[in-house]
Amino acid sequence: MLNILLLGVGQCGNRILDAVNHLSLGGGRFSKYYSQQQYASNVQTIAINTALNDLKEMKHTRAKDRVHIPYLHGVGANRNIGKQCFTENRDMLLRTIEERGNFDVAFVITSASGGTGSSFTPSLIKELKERYSFPIYAIIVLPFREEGTLYMQNAAFCLQEMRETSVNGIILVDNQFLKQTGKDIKTAYDGINRMVAERFLFLMRALDSEMMMVTDLGDFNTLMASGARLATFGFAKGERDQSIKDVIKHSMSPRGLLFSMLPYKEAVRAMIIIQGDKKYLDINEITDEVETLSSEVGHVFKGVLIRNKEQPQVLTVLSLSTSEELDKFYRAAIDAINKEKEQKEKTASQKEEASDLLKGMEPEY
C-alpha cells in the first residue's frame, strides 16, 4: 500500500482537495456523516491557506487536515507577500507535514495564479525536496486568460519557479481550456474541481491496485521524468455499445484532456489506465490503440483494472516535451507583465510630474 501525501494550497488547491475527499467518501451530500474514505492507499490530506474563509468553505476535509496560516485575510494575489508569509510559517508547515509520517509520493494541488498557492507552492516543494526523497508532483491549475494581469503574471512566475525546483513533474490543468463546459462561473469551477478530483482518484487507485496489466508508481515516475516534466490528464467514460478503442481515443480528445495539447505530436510518453467489466475490455482493441499511440509518442505504459459490472473508463496521462498552448500562455503572461509595468511607470511618471508642478508651492487658505 502506498503512502500518499496530498496537499491543497490556496483557495483552488483547497477546493480540489475537498472534491477529492468528497468523492473518496462516496460523493453523497451527507456521506461524510456515515461513510469512510475509500482510498486504496494510505492518503494523508492537508489543506493550507492564509484565508480563513477559504478553509471554512471546505465541507469534506477534516478540520485537523486544514492548516490556517494566520496572515491577514490572504496575501491579496501578491506573491512577494506570499513568499514572506511562507518563510515566516515554514517551520510550522513542515512540522505539520512531518507529523503525518513517511510517504512514497506527494502531490501538491494549487492554482498558479492566486496569491497563497502560487507563492507557497514552489517554496514548499523546494523545502520538501530538501528534506524528503519521495517524488513530489504538482497539479497546477492555470487561470482563465481574462482573469487579469496579476493572475497571468503570477501564473507565469509560479510555473517558471516551479520548473526551476526539483519537482518531479507538473500536471497541468487549464481553466481556460475547461471553459468549454459552458456553464456559470460557480458551476464551471465546481465542474473543473470535480473533473480534476475524479482523474486524480483514478490515478491513485491505479497506482495502488493489482492490475491485469500492471502500471505502478515507478512507471508513473518514469513517465513524469520524461520531456519537460510537464503532463496532463485525459479521461473518458464509455457509453453503452462503445468500443474500448473509442473510449481510449475519447480520453485523448479535447473533451477528455485537462490541458489543450496535441497528443500524437506533443506527448513524449503516455500512460493508459483502463478500468471496467471484462466484457468491455477487448485486449486486441486495447493493444492496437496502444501500439498506434506508442508508434507516435514513444513508450506507453498501460494498466488494466477489472471491475465487475462497470462501464469502461480510461485515464490517460500524457507527458509533454513541448506545448504550443504553453507558449501562448507565456506570451499572454509577458504581455500582462508589460502592461502592468507600463501602468506602473505611467503612474510613477504622473506622480513625478505632479510633484514637479507643486514644487515650491504652498497651500493658500
Partner: protein
C-alpha cells in the same frame, strides 16, 4: 143454639175433609204436551204441564186456582209418587202417577172430585202473553258527565194480549236519570206479537264500571193471570275525567365511563317534559360524590317552567380525582312530582403503563443515539 152451631160446623168440617172427599173422587189419566192445561170446573182450577225431564222421568206441573185463597204451586211428578194440591192435608187435586215422559210430553194420572167437569186446553188454545224485554244503551263506554240513552223494548211473543203492564225500573247510583220520575211508558194493553219501547236518559256522575239494573215488568193475561218478565242488566264503563299533568324524565350521560385519574369527563343531563301539561318550579338536585370534582359547567339548576315536549340540557366537566367507581343520581323535583335517575358507572383507575411493550424501542433508541453521536462526532470532525 150453641149445640146446633157446633153441629153445623162439625158437619161442614167433615164434608171438607179428605176422607169425606175421598169417597167422591175420580182418578183419570191426561196426556199433556208442554203448555197444555187441564181445566177443572171451567178453569177454576188449572193444572198445566210446564216442563219435562225425559232422562229422569220428571214432569213439572203448575197448579192454580182463580180467586181462591190457595197460592199457585209447582209440583214435580215422578212415576207413582203422589203430590198434592194445595197440600197433603187438603188434597183437592193430586198427582198419582207420571209415565211416558218425553222431551215435551207426559201422561199424568190425577185424582179430583168426581163431580168436577174437566177439559184439556192445549197451549195453542190458551191466550197467554209472554214478554221478552230488551234493555239497550247507545253507548257502554262514557266519560263522567256524559249522557247515555237507555232504551227498553218489550215484545209480546205470547199468543195472548197483555195488560196492566207495570214497569219497574231501578236507577243506578252512578247513573242518575235525567228529567222526571223514572217511569218508562209503553203501550197497554200490548197485543200478542206486538212490541213497544221507551227511552230515558241517564247521566254518568262518577267513574267506574256500573250496571244499569234489570227492568222488571209485571203484566196480566186476558184471563187475569199475572206474569213477570225481566231484562238483562247493562254494564256501563264510566271513564275517569282526563287530568293533564306534567311528567319529567331525567337522563344523564357521560362521554366516557372508563377514565384515568385526572382525566376529565363531560356529563350531559337532560330533563324532558313527556307529560301534557307544563312543569313548573323545577329543581334539579345533583350532588357530586367525593372523588369527583366539578371543573366547569353545572350539575344543578332551577327552571321556572318546562313546556310539554320541551327539554333542558345541562353540561358539566368533571375531573376524576380519586380511584373508584362512581354514579350520580340526579333528582328533579317539580310541581307535579319528582323523578330521579342513576347515571352509568364512572370507573376511575390509575394509569398503569405497561412499559414492557416498549422494550423493543430500546435497541432502536440505542442505535439512534449511537448514530446521533457518530453524526455529531463527524460534524465536529469536519467543522473548522
Amino acid at each position: 143454639m150453641k149445640k146446633h152451631a157446633i153441629l153445623v160446623l162439625l158437619t161442614f168440617f167433615l164434608l171438607l175433609t179428605p176422607a169425606a172427599l175421598a169417597e167422591d173422587r175420580t182418578r183419570r189419566e191426561f196426556p199433556l204436551n208442554i203448555g197444555d192445561s187441564v181445566y177443572f170446573e171451567n178453569g177454576y182450577y188449572k193444572v198445566t204441564l210446564v216442563r219435562t225431564d225425559d232422562v229422569m222421568g220428571f214432569a213439572w206441573f203448575n197448579f192454580s186456582c182463580e180467586n181462591c185463597f190457595h197460592e199457585p204451586k209447582e209440583l214435580k211428578g215422578y212415576q207413582d209418587e203422589s203430590q198434592y194440591y194445595p197440600s197433603k192435608d187438603e188434597q183437592i187435586i193430586s198427582i198419582r202417577e207420571i209415565r211416558a215422559v218425553t222431551a215435551n210430553r207426559a201422561i199424568v194420572n190425577l185424582t179430583f172430585p168426581s163431580n168436577w167437569d174437566w177439559q184439556i186446553v192445549t197451549a195453542e188454545d190458551a191466550k197467554v202473553p209472554k214478554f221478552v224485554i230488551t234493555k239497550t244503551v247507545d253507548k257502554t263506554r262514557v266519560k263522567v258527565d256524559e249522557i247515555i240513552q237507555v232504551k227498553i223494548t218489550i215484545k209480546n211473543v205470547g199468543n195472548g194480549s197483555a195488560s196492566d203492564i207495570d214497569i219497574d225500573e231501578i236507577p243506578s247510583t252512578a247513573l242518575i236519570p235525567m228529567g222526571e220520575e223514572l217511569e218508562p211508558k209503553i203501550k197497554d194493553p200490548l197485543p200478542a206479537g206486538e212490541s213497544d219501547s221507551d227511552t230515558y236518559l241517564v247521566q254518568a256522575v262518577k267513574s267506574g264500571t256500573f250496571n244499569i239494573p234489570k227492568t222488571t215488568v209485571k203484566y196480566e193475561s186476558e184471563s187475569g193471570e199475572k206474569y213477570t218478565a225481566e231484562s238483562d242488566t247493562v254494564s256501563i264503563t264510566v271513564l275517569a275525567p282526563e287530568v293533564k299533568l306534567s311528567n319529567l324524565t331525567t337522563t344523564i350521560q357521560f362521554d366516557k365511563s372508563n377514565v384515568l385519574i385526572d382525566e376529565e369527563i363531560t356529563a350531559t343531563i337532560i330533563i324532558k317534559n313527556v307529560g301534557d301539561a307544563p312543569a313548573n318550579d323545577i329543581d334539579l338536585i345533583n350532588r357530586l360524590p367525593a372523588g369527583l370534582e366539578l371543573v366547569g359547567g353545572a350539575l344543578e339548576d332551577k327552571y321556572h317552567e318546562i313546556k310539554p315536549g320541551d327539554s333542558r340540557e345541562l353540561n358539566a366537566v368533571i375531573r376524576a380525582a380519586e380511584v373508584g367507581n362512581y354514579t350520580l343520581t340526579p333528582r328533579t323535583v317539580y310541581s307535579d312530582g319528582e323523578t330521579s335517575t342513576t347515571s352509568p358507572v364512572i370507573s376511575v383507575t390509575e394509569e398503569d403503563v405497561d412499559y414492557t411493550k416498549y422494550m423493543y424501542l430500546i435497541p432502536i433508541l440505542l442505535i439512534l443515539i449511537i448514530i446521533l453521536i457518530l453524526v455529531i462526532k463527524r460534524h465536529r470532525e469536519y467543522s473548522f
